[in-house]
Symmetry: C4
């Protein structure tokens, strides 16, 4: 279990692997975008508002205790509804990044529509806290083949939505003049959604896992990526992992990850800035084609 | 794991946190309201009647052994069908609270319809055991924005259906003359439904969890809320957690929670009465609004 | 965890609780009855035939090693297709009981249709192995209010399909002249289906549990029922629990249950015969009625 | 747990049981065949391409460290898109076998259509790496009653898609002149799909299990089959089990299985060649028939 798998990524001097704790502050957006009538469900709206109102402050206290800086992906709608929460995240020294306006479903949409969602999200983050983000994460991690170009055109430094690698890499975006974008990949096994989410008439498989199971699974993954020289990117939602026992388990994980020898614990922005320096030519992604029979 | 997260709620002298064990005695109601034809399913009806007939007596014996008083949310239909069970709960010194008449789906209904369900439930509890409850829990924890006002108008002291905080708080209800209602929030991770419920042609994800897993998860949450000075509200259904091994695991949890230093173990009614004294001005809940594009 | 919950059932002298290991030998029936076209799915048919062809022999060897007699519920279709398997079960000294003809869905059907399924099942068990069963278990444990009468009219001594108690009891069947039937209740938490079943395009939640989790959960339940003087009835399907590691875990459970002080390990037939002697007047089951608003 | 269950299969001298680690390199095929529009989902396509691009190299390094030869089932589409990956698998000394062209759904299709998929797959493996496979595994393990004959006609030595036994056996295929085919059965409990697969809008129950749970479950099964003299065939998908912590857990399993006394760890091709020598007459599979009422 202590292999050197030779991912061979050149981390900064003294570091053998990297990790980032990220939070998607979806609040009500991810419910409302699919079901506008859910605005009448007072309990569900409260369940979602728990994220910015209660979960984020608890997570900020935890991160402060642990002296860790994190990345918060904030949909524009969250920024419009909870500007003080966004400012508080900034004031604690964390990174704010882009996560759509209303957590829009990006599947199959045109570049024009996607551009509009991107621009609305940028405007809202600026309006709420004067933030211009350098990072983007697609709602539901759903990207289109035109997404990297749209991001490069808007000056984003990195995306964190693809599930196709274990270390950051450069994407060839085909955007004229600004061809480069860093990708910092994610993994559904490193997301709290399918472990904890359950709400009748909205989402969930009906199973809510124990934070101890989740801690065990994520710790296995952190150790494996540390051993290989990889990149451990964890995604949590404050309305889920901001609840008491889940934050406690997450704090235990943060402590353990910090204790790994040579593990760089930082924001995605810093990982992207480092990757920008060391990554070679951009990878060209190709849409698969099925050979006719 | 022993942080002081500073929820800062003022518990009674000598107490640093609070907990309540609550039971929703749904019996057949939660099945019949969605599928009246299920009345012909003899096995399913028996599965549900197990709650009041077998589960409640076992749970009452357990609570007696543990010297704990609990809160039982009883739909009017259960009270009409099993009045002796309701009386027995009262005779054991526990609190009876309101849980709809037939566990009605409250989603999207008018204030008039909801008022009728509330009144029918009140009449049934009165008819069965002369009880006038001070607490309410919405079926499926589903509330509407008008729900708090309806409760205040009927003299309820508290609601326990929202999922938006970790400690009790006052709700501004906008009811003329009786503006105040205490909310004691709940959490899907502290409910036995999605851990244990499974019945073909009715409900369940197909996974029934081990009581040891559930005990572990709830104990984590109890310890986390104790450490933070929060409020641990557990919801069980007698047709599920009233079965032998599940009651045994629950008894183990009750023992552990009682053993936490400064943990107040009581009914929701007593927690609400205390909150009524110490909570500041009511929180105004606002229906979210999505900014036009 | 060592309470005496006073279920107060009078077990035979020297026994404080009872247990029965039961097996539903559904084979292809439970698939074909819902989807006749599945007969063309060679892999699925083989997956089901594994039950009688491979699972039952392995389970018979295990039961022989453990010197335990069990109850096998055999649909008529299984008896018609695998008569030698039925004979082998009989030759090993186990009980054969009734489980429908083709594992028919009993929900909402008329007494006439249900009677026909009962009679077809009886004919098949007689044809295959000259067996006249005294016990019945409804497919999917789905009974109708007329089911007890139909069973009593055919001379069945017991049913094992209801989920409304922890110990056997007498049912008032309203059948003229033969009013009595013993019920030996079951529990979805004591069934291997929702722990292990998964087959794309047929059934399953997508999660297959570890036999260690299942062993733990069932052992908790066995101990709880032993402590209370109850009845532990476990239901397994040979196409699931007849596979190697699952049978090993089951054997471990059988050994532990046998080791419980005063635990009577026997067939449902023997439990029913004992209950027939000690149970008081029959319980009258009543179809719930919802009070008009 | 150390029974000799007398499966009685004659393994090579010195061996008491056999095991094979197999990998289905589905890549994008299993998504695209059901939903051609998914080709526009950049993130999902990347999630699938992770298998050949990142998962396979990691697994090859792991197998090399463990000095184990494995069997890789490669759909023709994967071979067409990633020929270098196929060559690399061959160069590492592993077996390449057939897994359809585009992971076609075989349920209910004609022999003519199935033959065409088989031939397209053969052509692609030849085109990519000059490979002529001797083994076949049906996509989704879904076979038709004509499948064995089609395989025998094309000179396949074995199939590994049925779930009806624990040891290899000979199938009577009814193909004129080439009647024999070895079957090496599989088991859904020995597949990583329902343990790990989750992708919104594509697949999964919402639960992703911990690699520790999966390791425990598979190790139980390996020990049980070793104790009985059976055959342990494990199926993994590189886009799932090729991720860091999952490969680590798998490596731990490989080490343990290698350490079992007398356990033959090899490819399916070698198991089939041995079975060809020792298996008796072919088993005739019969399509079930339901007796008219």
């Amino acid at each position: 279990m202590t292999e050197q798998d030779g991912a061979g990524f050149a981390w900064p001097a003294g570091c053998r692997a990297a990790s980032a704790f990220t939070f998607d502050v979806d609040a009500e957006s991810c419910v409302l975008v699919n079901d506008p009538a859910a605005v009448d469900r007072m309990s569900l709206m409260g369940h979602q508002s728990y994220g910015p109102r209660v979960g984020v402050p608890r997570l900020l206290r935890m991160l402060e205790r642990q002296e860790v800086r994190a990345t918060f992906f904030v949909p524009g709608f969250t920024a419009d509804c909870y500007p003080d929460v966004v400012k508080s995240i900034v004031d604690h020294g964390h990174e704010i990044a882009h996560h759509g306006y209303l957590h829009e479903p990006m599947r199959g949409i045109s570049a024009e529509d996607e551009a509009e969602f991107l621009d609305r999200g940028l405007e809202a983050l600026d309006r709420a806290a004067g933030v211009r983000p350098v990072g983007y994460r697609a709602p539901w991690w759903e990207t289109n083949w035109h997404t990297p170009r749209l991001l490069a055109e808007r000056g984003f430094a990195y995306d964190s939505s693809l599930l196709d690698d274990d270390v950051p890499y450069r994407i060839e975006t085909s955007a004229p003049g600004t061809p480069s974008l860093i990708e910092i990949p994610v993994d559904w096994a490193l997301d709290d959604w399918e472990q904890y989410a359950f709400y009748p008439g909205w989402t969930g498989s009906g199973v809510i896992e124990s934070p101890l199971k989740v801690l065990e699974m994520w710790w296995l993954e952190a150790r494996a990526r540390h051993a290989e020289g990889g990149c451990f990117v964890l995604t949590n939602h404050p309305f889920l992992s901001g609840r008491p026992a889940k934050t406690h388990a997450l704090e235990e994980l943060v402590e353990r990850v910090k204790g790994l020898d040579g593990m760089w614990v930082t924001t995605l922005q810093e990982i992207a800035a480092h990757a920008e320096e060391v990554c070679g030519p951009g990878r060209v992604h190709q849409r698969p084609e099925v050979r006719p029979a």
